[in-house]
Symmetry: C2
């Protein structure tokens, strides 16, 4: 149709068709009041006819702000992170930002590259769920843009973060099991190098302390990374002569692995765990789950970041830490069909 270079029509092309300068086209598209109605209409007509779209890349080069914020998560396939991403996007959109997402696929060593890539693409800020325990690359990133951490706290970094009540939630759920008289509780956890793993173990331990019960170290398994390793660990525990009477799992994937082991073994043990998941309420197992709003982690992180973007370099607020509350949800019945004690909270 129209003679155009590889990139489609430009303002210049539109202007030529509407018989005005590119500058006037720019004004019209920006809703600048100082343009006559007649001109405005001609410009819009030309835009329509050419299918013209303003080049945001050139625009942001000129204006010095890309309107994009970056999000780095470890595993988008985990509903936890996809909810978090949706929360970020919700708030980002609300404030006129676009979210660019990167997934490190559980490989901590890929994270620095992803972060750099986002910075190269001129994101104005970053929200990161740190994959590993090293965070130097984030310190480097902070030289360029503000960084907000989600789900894990900064380590040697001075920046905002959004956490869940890892310690409190784990303690409360464990206390439920203890209150029912279960004293031999196995702990199935992710690597203790992860903040969440360590905190949740701490909560598990604190509940025991408060109940005056000594946890059996022989029933503690850490370093589980997915449902499969959790299933294997559970099967091994169930086969022991001193098998546990209840289970505590530190996240949704570990709970699911443990549940698979229980159901395959046809054993019904009370299970407590972090993260609620689909169909947990109808499994017919006595479950005590620490539930929280993953979307809200994303929303809060985005709010913190965007707030920071609104302040000049000089008047940045001190780093903040926001905590998302957890609540305990109880499902299912005991093996003998007797309902569990009165739920503390329910859906």
């Amino acid at each position: 149709m129209t003679a155009r270079r590889a990139g489609g029509p430009t303002m210049h092309d539109v202007g030529k068709l509407a018989q005005v300068s590119a500058m006037t086209v720019s004004r019209v598209l920006k809703n600048d009041p100082g343009v006559s109605e007649a001109t405005r209409e001609r410009v819009f007509a030309a835009v329509d006819r050419l299918g013209y779209r303003r080049n945001e890349t050139a625009r942001s080069l000129r204006l010095g702000g890309s309107g994009m914020i970056g999000l780095v998560v470890t595993n988008l396939a985990n509903p936890f992170y996809s909810r978090l991403a949706l929360g970020v996007q919700e708030v980002a959109t609300e404030y006129g930002f676009r979210m660019v997402l990167s997934n490190s696929a559980e490989q901590a060593d890929r994270e620095p590259g992803l972060v750099d890539g986002l910075i190269d693409h001129q994101v104005e800020g970053l929200i990161v769920v740190p994959a590993g325990s090293r965070q130097q690359h984030l310190a480097a990133a902070m030289r360029h843009v503000p960084v907000v951490l989600a789900a894990r706290p900064p380590a040697g970094l001075d920046t905002d973060c959004v956490l869940v009540e890892d310690f409190h939630g784990a303690r409360e759920a464990t206390a439920c099991l203890l209150a029912e008289g279960h004293t031999r509780i196995a702990f199935l956890g992710n690597p203790p190098s992860l903040y969440t793993g360590a905190e949740r173990l701490r909560g598990f331990w604190a509940a025991h302390d408060e109940a005056g019960v000594e946890p059996d170290n022989a029933l503690i398994r850490q370093g589980l990374v997915d449902a499969a390793t959790a299933e294997a660990a559970t099967l091994e525990l169930l086969g022991r002569p001193d098998a546990p009477a209840a289970l505590f799992c530190t996240n949704n994937r570990i709970s699911q692995g443990a549940i698979r082991a229980l159901l395959k073994s046809d054993v019904t043990l009370p299970l407590a765990g972090f993260d609620d998941f689909d169909l947990s309420d109808v499994l017919g197992l006595p479950l005590t789950l620490v539930s929280y709003d993953a979307d809200e982690i994303g929303r809060e992180a985005a709010r913190l970041l965007i707030d920071r973007l609104g302040h000049k370099e000089a008047e940045q607020p001190p780093s903040r830490r926001v905590t998302i509350p957890t609540r305990v949800v109880r499902h299912g019945v005991h093996a003998d069909g007797r309902p569990l004690g009165p739920p503390r909270t329910d859906t």
Copy 2:
């Protein structure tokens, strides 16, 4: 530290520090062979010292290619779409592209705006899971960049798409139920305006035809949009005097709603459905699920798109249609504990 404008140091700043021109910095960063080793080292040192990062926005303005492809999905919280997104990202990364993700949050009327926004940000191509049945905005988008559809076919558009075997999968799963002697099968489906809904109903119907069984229209429910509506529809069906003896569900959320209804009602019916989901194998229900690789849909879509990006305008291949195979997975046992017949496929 260094005097810098809002956007951080530029090649010019690096050059000044390394006592070369910006042009030479550009050459070094591009691995251009025509630079002396001494200069190269001075430049790298300056880059390090300033924490310099090349501005990809300016670069792509000059080079005329952003290196980004856009993906539009309807609901990232559905594992189906998050897997699809991971598949897209995997292939995109492999070919040096970056994926920019937009989520329409189930609101079809937001899709055009998202598509336009991605085009404004200079994505070089788009992969779209169309939210509604109208696709004119995609025709407009195709004036700018290639568009590949995922999970739903083009309607009045000439472009590539990646589909699953909706018809075949539904027919096969339904045939399993019929082969076991269930003739009163309820159909719980999403709106028939969606391609997948219509195709899966067609497969359901075809299996009945082939088995010489007449489906009961009174047991067909369409227009279900989520687990809650599916649960309600299932409860209603179970309460009828002529209640069904088996259920067919057209997607994971509908299956989950139906399962919740069954388990709450303490009724065990054989259930067939599209999409596998977490823990389906340990629910203890007789399930016949149509499983497929959602990642692969994303990977194929990305391959088709990137292939097209590699061809000049003149030599574009004709539009292609790729189909992702399905397989039937059977789980669980009959209500009386008797195992189901020999599985046709298994995990």
